[in-house]
Symmetry: C2
Subunit: 452 residues, 2 copies
């Protein structure tokens, strides 16, 4: 048995984020204002985002300085460890070397804190008093609550009602960080009231919660909105993961052949893989970057590349992305963070250009991998992160079959201490797989916004 962590010093926390927009084979298609049938302008975002965030969203600068106060808060848990999963390798009897970066050490238990802290800082600097957001299972909401508390900002979270009721622990975590948490649909907004008047027992949806958060921003002076994935600036903030991992692999005298991360909206995959895809774009490597999605929600594998709304009610500007249609409702897999219909425009562009490849995996094989990992490496992964583990194990077994030495890096984006009911479901033999519902997707795709 052998465990090897590669730990960096605080001074090694990167001083800049990597912005892959600088290196894309062609510029991104701009966001589109579907209501007014024209490309969206920065002004379209001003009501909900502060200027620096909008600037980052649009920027083509390769390196963006991480403000010192952000680096300071990062120090609570960063640099995060890189671990050689030697015990897993031995168990698999594979010639492959497997490394994982471990983001579960953050106070919210996942990588989401990396962007939350940055967003809270820029809003504070811009004089914003209140940040509103939505959350499903609660990873993003708890990360943002903690970040807002650090910078003295009010934080308001609209949490999908069924999660609010079924997953009260994440709600309590947000409240412990001082956030106001409302079950959505709520009576705080006209949107919420309208939904409730039509269906007092509504369980809510991420779409409704987004609409409520945005209405909250528009109706409160000094308030801005914050998003936990999908957008370019969020993806960029997460690159600290891959940048640290690169330094750590350098210390280990290694470089990956394969980089793997799970994909919901895309910020986790972006953060892990973009700093390596940079090398690929510069012709320095042929590595493969694998984005792992649930087969119940396979936007990259089975979706179309088209303009679509970010939310299920069509409130946001439309983004050019791989999507299953914004009205598509995936099966109830436990990896709530991966139940999103679209993929970040940046990741979508890379997939289009074959610079990243998608893999879809089923829920039960994901939990099987999670248990293998828990019992060999000792760390219980979040169900989302376990998607990356499944793919890493598959690649390690393939290397064994082919008799090839491969270096595999994956990101363990969060711990599973909030997800034990999902493990109970698996271990008790009750877990089901969700088939990919071709017909539902086809139906959802008929609702894509009409772009001229």
């Amino acid at each position: 048995m052998s465990f090897k962590k590669i730990v960096l010093d605080e001074k090694d926390i990167p001083k800049q984020w990597y912005n892959i927009q600088a290196d894309l084979p062609e510029p991104l298609d701009p966001p589109y204002n579907a209501r007014e049938n024209r490309p969206a302008s920065p002004d379209d975002f001003k009501a909900i985002f502060c200027d620096k965030i909008i600037k980052q969203e649009m920027s083509a600068e390769r390196w963006i300085d991480i403000p010192e106060p952000v680096r300071e808060v990062y120090k609570i848990w960063r640099p995060s460890p890189l671990v050689r999963a030697a015990n897993l390798e031995k168990f698999l009897d594979t010639p492959a070397k497997i490394y994982f970066k471990y983001e579960g050490v953050s106070p919210s238990g996942s990588h989401k804190s990396n962007s939350a802290v940055a967003q809270a800082f820029y809003n504070k600097e811009a004089g914003v008093k209140r940040i509103a957001t939505e959350t499903g299972a609660g990873q993003w909401g708890s990360a943002l609550s903690m970040a807002c508390e650090m910078f003295g900002l009010e934080c308001v979270v609209y949490m999908v009602k069924i999660s609010f009721e079924q997953k009260p622990y994440r709600k309590s975590l947000m409240q412990a960080y001082g956030a106001q948490v409302f079950a959505s649909p709520s009576t705080q907004t006209e949107t919420g009231k309208k939904v409730l008047s039509q269906d007092p027992n509504s369980e809510g949806s991420l779409g409704i919660a987004i609409s409520e958060a945005i209405e909250d921003v528009i109706t409160h002076k000094g308030a801005k909105y914050s998003l936990g994935s999908v957008l370019n600036h969020v993806a960029m903030h997460q690159t600290i993961i891959g940048l640290e991992a690169k330094k750590q692999l350098e210390i280990a005298g290694d470089y990956p052949d394969i980089v793997i991360a799970c994909l919901g909206g895309g910020s986790n995959f972006a953060g892990t893989a973009f700093p390596f895809i940079m090398d690929k774009l510069q012709g320095k490597t042929n590595l493969r970057a694998i984005a792992v999605e649930p087969s119940a929600c396979p936007k990259l594998s089975k979706g179309v590349l088209a303009y679509d709304f970010g939310d299920s009610s069509g409130f946001t500007p439309a983004l050019k992305m791989y999507t299953l249609g914004h009205t598509f409702m995936p099966g109830g897999i436990h990896a709530g963070g991966l139940r999103y219909h679209g993929a970040s425009p940046l990741v979508s562009a890379l997939v289009k250009h074959k610079l990243a490849e998608p893999v879809a995996v089923k829920q039960r094989e994901v939990f099987e991998a999670a248990i293998t990992f828990t019992r060999t490496e000792g760390v219980l992964p979040a169900p989302e992160s376990a998607h990356a583990i499944r793919a890493a194990i598959n690649e390690a077994l393939k290397a064994k079959e082919e008799g090839k030495t491969k270096t595999i890096l994956f990101n363990l984006s969060g711990h599973g201490h909030f997800d034990l009911s999902a493990y109970d479901n698996y271990l008790s033999g009750k877990m089901v797989d969700y088939e990919y519902p071709e017909e539902k997707v086809c139906e959802a795709l008929t609702h894509l916004p009409k772009i001229k």
Copy 2:
């Protein structure tokens, strides 16, 4: 805002544990076999513990080598960080310097893993196949489950039924690590069956669970028992906490005036404070070592120093310790890990000799401190650990009042991600304090074993 972690390298993981038995002002009173009315001999322990564990329990050697395979597993999370809580200091506006050692980074989320790994190793080495234990809230059970999995041992956990039902998450964590978990009273043992025949709805107790675990050991070939606190060898395994903290403070150019840890059975306090009390015993320092207990279960503050059983049913040998009586049932505070009637014989001896001092704090002031800490330092503590935070804040405020610079070190023994229902109880204003029940204790003390 400022955050400063002091991180050690893996090679700095201590190579030896510190055994304070070598330095005590007088030797410990030996365990007592109350059934046969004679001091207990090593043979009394052979049925349930392997030889090396018994040897450590009785040893007066100052330093005991940590086996390499144990250090190897420690590397999964150790060395744990030491953090200067500068943001908390600023919030309190205190001249005191506050440091905390953070044990919540372990895979089980608490310090319990430090001894679990050592105990699993020694049992494996001795050819043991199966380890049985009891657990209340589940911290110890999950730590031992993980440790057994690492060394390929079968692990059987008898979990108090009311916790099994009310706290299913810890149960699932143990199962994810491959342990068999039974709600106690169970039908696995004669003890359990007997209890159930008398009361089919019994909610169980730690006493019943201990009896079931010990019966399991006696009735299974190749099985041994494992305990998560109280005993000398467990206290010694935990000294890795204080030994690391000492190195880290040295790097920071500091040394504590006050060392603080919460106390349930005593191993957390022992692990944190003993390496510093060593300096005190050697006349090198006058530091104060504070053991923080809940006012609902104040064995050190209000108990008597007497021989008492380790379990509530009087099955174990009697130990000389501060106790509230083994039949004492404390109020239902959320810090389940501190609801134990007695205190480790080693800690009890130090308190007797005024080398450690107890402080008792109330539940609501503990959670108030926990919230202050969460919102300044970003990390949500376990309710047990929050007892230490309360005492640290109190000392920092006293330093402010007196205008004195003090260096305070406390151990944050675990994270609170499993304890959010307790936070919910506090934040919703429903939390109550439990008064110290003088009359119940007096009653319980009449049940102390009769020693000649």
